[in-house]
Symmetry: C2
Subunit: 774 residues, 2 copies
Amino acid sequence: MANITKKVSWSSRADESGAAGEGTPLLNGSEQPRLSRQDSIKGRPKEIPHNEKLLSLKYESLDYDNIENQLFLEEERRMSYLGFRCLEISRWVVCGWIGFLTGLIACFIDIAVEELAGFKYQVVKENIEKFTEVGGLSISLLLWAVLNAAIVMVGAIIVAYFEPIAAGSGIPQIKCYLNGIKIPRVVRLKTLVVKVCGVICSVVGGLAVGKEGPMIHSGAVVAAGVSQGRSTSLKKDFKIFEYFRRDTEKRDFVSAGAAAGVSAAFGAPVGGVLFSLEEGASFWNQMLTWRIFFASMISTFTLNFFLSIYHKNTGDLSSPGLINFGRFEGDSVAYNLYEIPLFILMGAIGGLLGALFNILNYWLTIFRIRYVHRPCLQVMEAMLVAAVTATVSFTMIYFSNDCQPLGPEHAEEYPLQLFCADGEYNSMATAFFNTPERSVRSLFHNQAGTYNPLTLGLFTLTYFFLACWTYGLAVSAGVFIPSLLIGAAWGRLFGILLAYITPNSAAKWADPGKYALIGAAAQLGGIVRMTLSLTVIMVEATGNVTYGFPIMLVLMTAKIVGDYIVEGLYDIHIKLQSVPFLHWEAPATSHWLTAREVMSSPVTCLNRIEKVGTIVDTLSNTSTKHNGFPVVVQVLGNEEPAKLCGLILRSQLIVLLKHKVFVELARSRLTHRKLQLKDFRDAYPRFPPIQSIHVSQDERECMMDLTEFMNPTPYTVPQETSLPRVFKLFRALGLRHLVVVDDENRVVGLVTRKDLARYHLGKHGLEELQLAQT
Amino acid sequence: MANITKKVSWSSRADESGAAGEGTPLLNGSEQPRLSRQDSIKGRPKEIPHNEKLLSLKYESLDYDNIENQLFLEEERRMSYLGFRCLEISRWVVCGWIGFLTGLIACFIDIAVEELAGFKYQVVKENIEKFTEVGGLSISLLLWAVLNAAIVMVGAIIVAYFEPIAAGSGIPQIKCYLNGIKIPRVVRLKTLVVKVCGVICSVVGGLAVGKEGPMIHSGAVVAAGVSQGRSTSLKKDFKIFEYFRRDTEKRDFVSAGAAAGVSAAFGAPVGGVLFSLEEGASFWNQMLTWRIFFASMISTFTLNFFLSIYHKNTGDLSSPGLINFGRFEGDSVAYNLYEIPLFILMGAIGGLLGALFNILNYWLTIFRIRYVHRPCLQVMEAMLVAAVTATVSFTMIYFSNDCQPLGPEHAEEYPLQLFCADGEYNSMATAFFNTPERSVRSLFHNQAGTYNPLTLGLFTLTYFFLACWTYGLAVSAGVFIPSLLIGAAWGRLFGILLAYITPNSAAKWADPGKYALIGAAAQLGGIVRMTLSLTVIMVEATGNVTYGFPIMLVLMTAKIVGDYIVEGLYDIHIKLQSVPFLHWEAPATSHWLTAREVMSSPVTCLNRIEKVGTIVDTLSNTSTKHNGFPVVVQVLGNEEPAKLCGLILRSQLIVLLKHKVFVELARSRLTHRKLQLKDFRDAYPRFPPIQSIHVSQDERECMMDLTEFMNPTPYTVPQETSLPRVFKLFRALGLRHLVVVDDENRVVGLVTRKDLARYHLGKHGLEELQLAQT
């Protein structure tokens, strides 16, 4: 309890590499705030600002800058032009596979949800119909609630007990990964399995969730797996793609995977590419982008193809994504100039509602962090939500008397007659008694008059709070579809009211579906605050570019209004994890700061030829846990500080120690075989902790020559460099360590991710986050 | 004649700043190859490989890295958070204006072309109809040819005599600008005026050109103008946006302008954003991208709105671009799985034809560089092409007997009856007797049977050669529409032949328009080799995302096939200009090279406090023409080489000299007022040449203190850094100078753009281009 951020599901286990800091020796004194027992028990959610003002030191960075040491350069120089061509081709092959497998997974989820949910609705519908006649509908309610709770329980158990990182949509985690932060276990096979099963359970269990967000995470896991040509979990190494076993290459493929996920989820290949670029791109490269696009296209195509087979309509490529908004065609979709102010108004409403959603969810998350952190509690909460969702839905349906004629054009698969006259069905039931995707589509396309305003108002209200409560549960689930659904509901309501107050021009407002679409965009934009990629995703999902301009306006308004109040949902969750996330640019007013103030110092340096004992001691020092060490040469007999000559990583040193790459001084000969890049690649990415490596007392006296393995040309900056300049260099190149040198090229400090992420713009100008080993 | 690359139109005048090199003192000895008179006269086009193997030293780089000197930092530090917010808002305002003005320009071009071309066709049509009856059609031909030649003459004269840089589509130039190369006069107001008038003349003059490419250039000029808040040409300074008067900010706005241009040209706002990113993005930033998107949206919206007024249909937003492919709707557009191999085959054909086009145009361009470089010759060539185009068109129409019934559904505005029966029209005339945009649309949408195969085949053949001859003339014109037209023609032919050889399944191939679209994509892709952005542009122009997958496949195939033979058209023209263009990555096999081999050395350094005379002499040295000078401190009485302490640019020194920022040692006082950033901004971007600054003999003895003005934290690399690593740093940060230092922080060399652009992958591995002051 002393450590309040500890138990949030997506990072609850300690990182197995045992290394956490990025090279900061002193953590700026010992000011790390630790909440005392009293603080965390007494405080009410809004009284704990610590979570936001903290920066966790337990997250490692990824190395997105190639380590160009001698081994690497030798390999590159040996490689012929043909070799590079082959590599390039294998990159394409990998991307093809990523797209194909991601599409297959999306297809599997879709079919599983369709079948299971169909079965469930059939059972409940028959039961309700039976008891509508004889009375005693409370039994139906019980059946529904228990059924839902049971299904959700399965989903929650596998998530809470087996792989907490699989909870939620996974989008914040992938954002962090692409940003360069190592989130433990985020791209493992086990995570994928739990995620897929979990999302099926959540959706079938009737929670207010979507299956789209998790696709992005799934795609990323597939990419990380395929590109490495092996599975560490399954202990199977195919001995292929060994060249790709480093962070830089893996990151590129993970981008492709995330894009393929978006593409499969929304049928939006271009949106997928833009999503990956928006979230990750300190890198941008024409060929890479083109490959990402290829993966996205393959993914949506695969999904489309297999779904067409499933729907017994082979070759009909009309369902490119998990959610399709249906076709917006004909005259009803055209918008007029005078509608644009209305759209902007809707954008503002979406921004406000989105901000409300985020604030509520923020409080809820803090509550969860403090009180609902044991797996059994998490499972129980999920079950509770499932039961409540069923109960609320049932109550709403029960008390609604919104009967509509059952026409042949209605696509609802499970129309509930309930107390309606024969040939009619209960329209509130359409909204609740359906997968959320279908409900969204109904709201977009059902003709005017299908819903009455009261139904929509009540639905919006209840679904809003249900969705807000649901996000953050220990289940795999996305927030896209619930957001769209809430927005579509109030958007349609908005459209109906417009038609109501301007009865003379009824024909002009004929299509409330148009307003449903705009409302959906506004609500989603207000919650997640994505910009370009979301516009393109929405446009691609509607299959019609006409709406590009209004959707852009709406999303922009929603973002401006929402940002004024609170951050986006994903950013809130990233902040609550105290992740050292680097934004696009340094805070505007940070020119006051220079590398001298920002850097950590003094730095633990190693000599080019260093005693093994010193290295082991340095690595074993649990109070610092550095990950990068500048390598220096000390001129013998010279009192001056040593000059920088390279940089070596903890992971490299671990591999060197493991392979006993020692020089025995006494006998003056090498006792080891020549180490190759392959040895480093085999150990990647799960390097053993230093504790697992045994070094004898004799060996401690040996020396280790780091020349071949260190990066001999680390990027450096002088001490006077301003923070924005340091930031730009760091961000543009995806660095992990940046050495600060004086004008004699002597090491004076080291800038790492957390040194830069520490500064952010608060309400009162530049603020500095505190660091803690939470 | 001795200097064969000198007279290509888009760079024919010497840069007025007089500075050309990037800091190379020795140009690697004196190996610059200069073609002797004999060489260039005797050689046939393919025997002059020099153009390709040369790298011109006359192109300066732009400074895309902020110069963070003391003045700049002081200003930034003085600025409050509110100040930064205001700046941010003004960026949005500027982007809004860019979009609006670009849209207006597109609108103007469209209406002007529509009216003038309409008038011309009306005159010619009446004439032809008159003479069809009485005989003597040769008079009609003469009228047509003379009319075309006269109109084209106007366009060619303003381009050739007033602003040669306005020739062509301007896309290669904008590519270069975004890449960081200063192309003289490319973003001037005069260029814009000539471009707009020129493109109207070319299109009305009936050349095989489009008006879309030039929009990209126009948008960029608008952006460069609006963002600076002044017009140097008009000598009007609005005293606004002064903060944006530097290369970094200007580059961002020019990206937005280019995107707005694409957006207005094709109604493709997302495609526009992607175009800018594909061409320019060593930078990528979420907010910037969002602003670019905003400009694009405003641009297409403005065009759409004003065109709707022009078409007397206010508020109908259905013509978002200069070219609209028309709506592809209904069942006829769906494609089947078994068509995909056919699409890929078409992609390959497009790649081959595109490569053929490029090779022919390459030879033609070399011919033009050598023999057609005087403005009067250029005008005459343009007139010749115009007359030949009219003649060929006339001949084709005359000898064609492809009569089609004149139905009400035909949208051709100028149907030519010629020798057809009453109620019929000549279908060959539809293809030639129309603006190319309309012809493309007809090929996409006219129902099956409108064209007979022979007509299409002949049309493809003639138009291919006409378009190839036309591109590179001294007129403003784009190659997009001709490419689309050629492709649409052979694509439709392909579709018709398919239906012909599979008569039983005729219904399935019912829509040759589909094949026309795929053919158009293939041909365009084969010529320009754009990838992601072109896919998105095509998808947005069709207004239908269904074709995303086949278009991607086709473009990919076309690019692979084409790249195997020859580069893309724009790259060929960039190469023929010997522009030091930096590609995305260093050549694959360049790990052998290190900064030591790549850099220029020795470097001319300046002392922190330097004698004015030395500075003037250094700047006046015409044999070197450096643009950047490392600033060093020499420890007094120490024999060691001096240590790096900063970097100063020629342009900064010029401003310092102009304002006489001297310290008179004798009297030990400052004789100048304190210089401010404003002084540098006022001089930007047309810094006077050193020759125009008078420095007296007394002043030469003064000292100049560079401390405040130099960039105190230039990026540096050690000598051992590999070329790919240097390249990455250079490209990611948009650098102009990169100082190479030894391990004591002493300057040993300087890497500039041309040092990196010099290496490229040739057929026999890594090749080194030669440098020349051409």
